[in-house]
Symmetry: C2
DNA sequence: TTGGAAAGTCAACAACGCTGACGTAAATTC
DNA sequence: GAATTTACGTCAGCGTTGTTGACTTTCCAA
């Protein structure tokens, strides 16, 4: 890890090669990031799409289908296929909107919550270990760069979720 | 790495919710990370798999098929489909090994290099902007956390690339 | 009451993963 | 020199997850 430099020049003189390493780090790290949940899901015949739906329903209980569509950035046909499987298998339940009855509000069932817990325990364990290995300052930098890397619309979604905590 | 102890509570007291935000940041940022190359590839009827192959062939000219398999972590059938398209369309050329003639060494053609340049210019521009927005210290933290998040095998691959060659 | 938003569905398709089986050429081992 | 292993290519088939397009049902709101 030793090819830099004394201090702040590292920003001004970031070579293409150095930036490229950041790109490769994203590529390899994302594989690690998804590896543990993937192993759990495999046994249950679910995939990442199911994981993402479960994650964000857990995160925002009662969210609507269209809200979930906006967060996940997929088509409703694609989401619907996933959601149907989760509902049929009793992980997610639906509640018709009381104010606007066209809307479907989504909730995890107990069974769904159990899976969510297993998935996020695994993923958080790795994230936590990485944080610990890298140190507290690194964590802030990590989040700052990721946030800056998002599209404005994605950042908006992200920050909406963030509200309610540091 | 800066493992400073004067702010360590932030590590010790990281709540599940705080770690979860890191997870969501990865999710949203990865979308941004791939968005620009995806737009370019779309017009050319290529996908991310082609991008990855092109990236690593550029990175390690003359690399073999089996080396590329190890880096990308896919099956040879999957890689072969991608590679065949790239060769047919004149972006990649193959050279039989001179020492070991079973090996196929892979190189970008001029046409391939042109596309590689376009793709990585786009991706680097975003990465560079994120770095600039987040600041030099953040960049180090970003890389440190990502590296710690990788599987050991992935980290090995990553570090082999960092050392300036195959 | 009618226009349009929200949700759901059917059909078809593409990218890109996977497994399994088989073939060929070259290197290595016995 | 024969047998085995390695590196690569290919055929066939399948699953997940994304896409468009077209259509219906339900329901709010003007």
């Amino acid at each position: 890890m030793a090819e830099n430099t004394s201090g702040d020049e590292s920003l001004l003189f970031l070579t293409d090669e150095q930036v490229r390493k950041g790109i490769e780090a994203m590529f390899f790290a994302y594989r690690g990031f998804t590896a543990d949940p993937d192993r759990i899901l495999e046994d249950l015949d679910y995939g990442r799409a199911h994981h993402r739906a479960i994650h964000f329903i857990h995160r925002s209980p009662g969210t609507t289908v269209s809200n979930l569509l906006a967060i996940l950035g997929v088509t409703k046909q694609s989401l619907n296929r996933v959601l149907r499987a989760l509902i049929e298998q009793g992980l997610v339940r639906i509640e018709k909107g009381r104010v606007d009855q066209r809307e479907r509000h989504l909730y995890l069932t107990d069974k769904g919550s159990t899976l969510e817990r297993a998935l996020s325990d695994a993923q958080r364990a790795r994230m936590r270990a990485a944080y610990r290995a890298a140190g507290p300052q690194a964590v802030q930098g990590f989040r700052a760069v990721l946030e800056a890397m998002m599209d404005p619309e994605q950042r908006r979604q992200y920050q909406r979720l963030r509200e309610g905590g540091p």
